[in-house]
Symmetry: C2
Subunit: 329 residues, 2 copies
């Protein structure tokens, strides 16, 4: 009997369990570590002594469609990388912008995307400092792919494993709206919801000192990212059904399409664990940026992430499975 | 009359003039600079005080075929980025590895490529410290694209504008063999020539102090890179026909295919300007690494790059034009 050849499937790009498995297989090849610390967060950390801690991160963006309500591929490429640095407590220093463009791609679209990059660069004060541009034959790449890499410096890293029993979980705003905006274009339905893509440097600068663990729930949504937070800290996290950070319309669309709302991605939000004594202070500050900021749950002893329903029962939140919606970011 | 829409064409990815034009158009969007110095070299530089100068670079690899004599896409992705740091005088600290994979890509091929990445990481001592993995639907990307970004630290940057009249131009070995190896596979002809891809950290560590300007002649080959070196330093560079750093077979293949040999790429060589008093010292050291290392020309007053023929006439070397051979790196 012929052995079936293993291939890479779309699910491995979903941000769920299959993604973690593939990443683990890739990482297992690498033996050289140097002085870097990889906390399993989105960036690696190198202590440079008096200069601070260097944080280094990279992200490939293959979003489809490339233009959507609230942004475009250039905007989320900048937001994604700046936020990955920011949620680790780093001050972003600079972005490297790598473009792979399909032959025949309209120059006007490229310049529109570059203007978005520039807008995010100006808003955040983070310069694009180096780059690369490649062109592939027609049909060999779907329009454009952008990889942004970033470097930042931190005095103190906000790691993703710091949640402790008793802590509260805060969301910096309503979640999942990046996915809603994309699905709206793809499935051609009307929604007022726009992509939530934005940089988080101001929010994090304001409340960073209160955050014991933080993560931007991009690919894999709240589900994948809160599960990661619980696993790393070896704690149980209980979300409250009545406090879920999703708009009614977001729930409705998830239901309509049969996709778990917890897998919906955001490109300008973070979730964080905060000690009870700081939670109200942090929340008050965050509400100045986004009135939807709220406490969505709490940390307990044990393991796993559970949703506490209105009647008091708990059901487990599971890591995204299946193909989900490909190419969300 | 309808205005024809401008589109991005393959030539803009060739490393020649059209590439420079497109990169200029992209860069013109960006106004934020921060404290970074962009010398127009392959990396940007940020002075971190006592820690040294941080060098940051990125490169997208879309090479076709992905496996070729002497390497694969993983090997050149590592060599390309490590070398971009190295030729600027930086000690590479770490690599960020971003993968965009086509749905259905064999996992065994992916692991073979990752083993190559690991081999280069071990040989150079430069760790892969962070990464990202995305999957695109079948037919939306051609097999796999890799973007490697790198950070390094330098005490002193080797800039690419330091050539002065009187200096000699050294090549660290025969050039263009990466392109020859790829063309061999694509056009199905037999050649003993393998890709010259390798890391340059040892060579540069040994002779770095003698180099007034250095560049790895990857995309765009010797032509694009030596023209850049002459333009930046506002000098004329004269290459000697009888000292050309190409094997006979490389010349023969270029002629056969009607492609200018000067546009053939290398992925493990550098060219450098060295003062006359250091040239023989540098050459002697370089020959220990590669016996084909040699002086290939000299720097004079004026501008442009010229080839001095055996009969003493000079003909200009021109920047690569036309489609050339796409997807060489």
């Amino acid at each position: 009997m012929e052995k079936k050849e293993e291939t890479i499937e779309l699910e491995a790009g979903s941000g769920g369990e299959k993604s973690s498995e593939l990443i683990e297989k890739i990482r297992n090849n690498f033996s050289v570590r140097g002085q870097w610390r990889n906390t399993g967060d989105d960036g690696a950390v190198l202590d440079l002594g008096e200069s601070g801690k260097l944080v280094f991160t990279t992200d490939a963006f293959i979003v489809d469609p490339i233009f959507f309500p609230g942004g475009d591929i250039g905007k989320i490429a900048m937001c994604g990388t700046i936020n990955d640095l920011t949620v680790m407590g780093a001050r972003p220093l600079g972005i490297a912008l790598s473009l792979v463009i399909e032959e025949g791609f309209p120059e006007s679209d490229l310049m529109k995307i570059m203007k978005s990059v520039e807008t995010m660069s100006r808003k955040s004060g983070v310069p694009v400092v180096t780059g690369d541009t490649k062109v592939m034959e027609k049909g060999k790449i779907d329009k454009i792919e952008i990889t942004t890499s970033g470097v930042g410096l931190a005095d103190k890293i906000i790691e993703n494993n710091g949640a402790e029993p008793g802590d509260l979980i805060i969301s910096s705003g309503d979640l999942g709206e990046h996915t809603v905006a994309l699905l709206g274009v793809r499935f051609n339905y009307k929604t007022k919801i726009k992509s939530d893509s934005q940089t988080l440097h101001q929010e994090i600068a304001a409340v960073g000192k209160y955050l014991k663990a933080a993560k931007d729930p991009t690919r894999g949504g709240l589900a994948a990212n809160i599960i990661e937070m619980a696993e790393k800290a070896k704690v149980k996290i209980i979300l409250e059904d009545k406090l879920l950070p999703y708009k009614k319309e977001t729930h409705a669309i998830a239901e309509l399409l049969g996709i778990d709302v917890f897998s919906f991605a955001s490109e300008g939000r973070f979730i964080a664990a905060v000690s009870p004594k700081n939670a109200q202070k942090a929340l008050k500050i965050l509400k100045k940026f986004n009135k939807e900021a709220k406490i969505i749950g709490r940390v307990g002893k044990g393991k796993g992430v559970y949703l506490k329903t209105k009647v008091g029962t708990e059901r487990p939140i599971e890591s995204p499975r299946g193909k989900l919606v490909p190419r969300i970011c």
